[in-house]
Assembly symmetry: C2
Homo-oligomer: 331 residues x 2
């Protein structure tokens, strides 16, 4: 019968069917106050009959906004970005905005074009691009704005970061309170700024308060596992791992060596990944508020979208979670 109807109805068809102008259809569809109830009813009926729903693309063009934002991340398999994504998605969704997501797959050289391309389809960008050179980023800012940066700062741009130093400070204070005075740090990737922030904080704090040694390690379970022997032989009574994965590996390696945690040595992680509570023993760590980062990212973007605002750079303090992997120093 009506084979041609399947070609997704548009506003004109509805207008014709309802015997009104397109403007009226538009008004009704957008709930614009004043349309005679009788007309509104006719429009709604026609719309329903034709399975009509306004084209968001056309709408976006006419309005000059898309009600969509983009998240650009280097790696979707990183729990950090997964949670940021989730927080962002929920928060933006609650305010009626869609989320476009672009992953650079760690290809820094692609990030610029990815971000620009994404920005052209939406109203603003949340960018997590730890490795993009600052100069490039600065050049990009005007074209990406409204923009929110995750885990890095730049003058004049709103940003959300994690205060790694504060987290380390809490971890250290906790260990000191347990009597530990010889601490070994299992260092993360040397190039990573999150590693140097942690290390810097440690060095700063160690000043007389405790003896700090360092073992080059990495960011993975295997890395942590591999240095377990070295840790056991280091004479340290406590280890601060670069992150939870490394701590997890160290825990596993120490277990195999018959070293009791926390009886003989205490171990802390960093991040509070989902499995940190399930290790044996459960891992004492500094919880990075990843979800909050996402929520706040939307908040900051939202305010930029609705009006002019002063850029803010906020750093979130991780939360110390004391679990079973740390105990009183016995030496």
């Amino acid at each position: 019968m009506d084979e041609q109807v399947r070609a997704t109805a548009n506003i004109r068809r509805v207008a014709e069917a309802a015997g009104v102008s397109r403007a009226t259809v538009s008004r009704v569809m957008n709930g614009h106050a004043t349309v005679a109830p009788e007309l509104a009813e006719r429009v709604l009926t026609a719309a329903r009959a034709l399975d009509y729903a306004p084209s968001q693309v056309a709408r976006s063009l006419a309005l000059g906004r898309t009600a969509t934002i983009a998240l650009i991340v280097p790696d979707l398999s990183n729990p950090m970005f997964q949670d940021v994504l989730r927080g962002l998605s929920l928060a933006a969704g609650a305010d009626g905005h869609r989320l476009l997501i672009a992953e650079s797959n760690e290809q820094v050289e692609d990030e610029e074009v990815l971000a620009l391309e994404a920005r052209r389809r939406c109203d603003g960008v949340v960018l997590a691009s730890p490795r993009l050179p600052t100069a490039d980023l600065e050049r990009l800012v005007p074209q990406l704005a409204p923009l929110v940066l995750i885990n890095r700062t730049l003058a004049g741009v709103p940003s959300l970061s994690v205060d790694y130093a504060a987290g380390i400070q809490d971890l250290v204070a906790h260990l000191l309170s347990l009597g530990h005075r010889r601490i070994v740090y299992l260092a993360g990737p040397p190039a990573s700024t999150s590693n140097s922030e942690r290390l810097d904080a440690l060095v700063r704090l160690s000043n007389n308060a405790f003896a700090l040694t360092q073992i080059a390690c990495g960011a993975t379970f295997e890395n942590g596992h591999a240095v377990a022997g070295e840790v056991a032989g280091s004479g340290a009574t406590a280890v601060i791992a670069y992150n939870d994965m490394v701590a997890f590996g160290a825990l596993s390696g120490l277990h195999e060596l018959g070293v009791d945690v926390p009886g003989q040595i205490s171990v802390t992680g960093f991040d509070d990944i989902p499995f940190a509570r399930f290790t044996t023993p459960p891992l004492t760590t500094a919880a990075v508020p990843r979800n909050t980062l996402g929520k706040q990212a939307w908040h900051q973007l939202h305010t930029q979208l609705t009006g002019p605002t002063a850029p803010e750079a906020v750093a979130f303090r991780p939360r110390l979670l004391v679990r079973g992997s740390t105990g009183r120093s016995t030496s």
Copy 2:
């Protein structure tokens, strides 16, 4: 000086600056073969000078396609969907398509409008909606097409699922080969179809080959942990957990009870979540090819976008991963 230039250049401005028509600018920007090199050069220069990049929204409207697809999931924190997302994102991205993502946050009643809304902004949909009633889904199909279903099937719609029965079969075969004849199943949520698929497969296989018992459990670490005592007292020599998290909990509980795994009892999981290789002992499990699901989803959507195709329903067989948590039966 040129304050008004900041209002993002459009095609007309570039055309004027280059002294050509908008059509020519369009041709150049799209690499359309034949434009005099000299003109092309002028256009490119002007575009560069004005920081011009075509509006993707306008382009989408004119072309009738957005080069964007949507993924609808109930819960982004579920590792299953995270990996599907990742596979989909990478695959679609490689073919120059963007990804819109919508999370229903488990609110089934929102999924319909979410999906429809998303569909209006893009060219196709990948839908993972395990709980949406079939009748509703059927009604939705025409409006969502091109469409690919994840983990559920529907006549006439391409879909990608996991063959849970096959995974169970492999697990059972593995256990039988190790001499196990008394197996206990730690059941997942009763309402979940993935639980009943596993259970059905077990019941079917148990016929004379082995004694099957069942313990009501759940889907979490805590659930698995809680039934460790019951498992130990069950007389079974092997346990098949609903999923890895449950197996993980059981492992932990058995450890605390001093029950040796796999010495006294073997344990298997299902899914191969990222941490399954790191448990003590590492978990034997059936790996669900989550990434492949995402990749294939793009593949199926892509073919639909490029031409008419017969819908396909493909089920992926999990891969048996034998690790340290299973061993020869000693009883």
